[in-house]
Amino acid sequence: MNTRQLVATMALLAGAASAAAAQTATQTVTFQVDAINQIAFAGSPSLVINAATAGSDPTSATAAATWAVTTNQTGAKITASIGSNMPAGLTLSADLSAPAGAASAGSQALSTTSTDLVTSITKLAQGALGVTYSLTATAAAGVVSSTTRTVTYTITGGT
């Protein structure tokens, strides 16, 4: 190899080295996902009892609302309670439709003690679920003027 060939070879090698050159930098990204349990209820239902079949207790009233849930845990549940007990002879109940894979307890009478309405809610995000409120009264309840109760729903995360 003469001098010119040597130079040409070195130039080609240098070019190849340059073409293959790559520069790098690194970053460390730290992340986490916390337990998330969210519920929402829409609607302020109104229930009025104003009829009866002669010989029977007054006819119950129903009203609909909706609810939604997001949980990234396993086995979450929904409980409900009201701030003060219902007047004597009146019963307010709630029935929540279960999201996929969960279990609804069906219609449950509400009181100041929390009661389970939906259990086994696992890793889902689902909305537009139905809520049915029902108000029943016995004749012994008499006339009850308009009154309200706030229903507090709580989602308790699973594992």
Partner: protein, 153 residues
């Protein structure tokens, strides 16, 4: 003959000097540091958890004079947990093109292409962490993102 040999040696020296010069000004990339913790902790009921972003860091690229273009790639050292996605968006220097949001994984993914020669530019990096409810709870974890600047095409 002696004159020709002398000229050839001069050419050789010049070529070596030129080669050394080129190596000294190769393309480079650097970052300003590490982003803060990306933490997902909220959702709107009925919807997937809310993604979080961090745009606190930057990268700086320099490219040499020869008439070539370069690109930046990004890749992770380990796969993300199932149903968790780390996305990066790199702002582009003048004359270059940002690919936009890129989900990062073990493969080197283009994030910026067409970086011209003679570029010395600092641009922003935005990371986004998203997760579905199926991901469950993910304890604090880290991934190393390797950024590489190479000639392209």
């Amino acid at each position: 003959m002696g004159v020709i040999l002398t000229q050839s040696r001069s050419w050789l020296i010049a070529a070596l000097l030129l080669t050394g010069s080129r190596a000294a000004i190769a393309q480079t990339i650097a970052v300003s540091g590490n982003p803060g913790l990306l933490r997902i902790n909220n959702a709107v009921a009925g919807s997937e958890p809310i993604a979080v972003t961090n745009g606190s860091t930057t990268y700086t690229v320099t490219t040499p004079a020869p008439n070539r273009t370069y690109k930046v790639t990004a890749q992770l050292n380990a796969a993300m947990p199932a149903d968790v996605t780390l996305t990066a968006t790199f702002a582009a220097p003048t004359g270059a093109t940002s690919i936009g949001p890129v989900a990062l994984d073990l493969t080197a993914r283009d994030v910026v292409t067409g970086i011209p020669r003679n570029t010395n530019s600092t641009q922003g990096i935005t990371y986004e962490l998203s997760a579905t409810v199926a991901a469950g709870v993910v304890t604090s974890s880290s991934r190393i993102v390797t950024l590489t600047i190479i000639r392209f095409p």
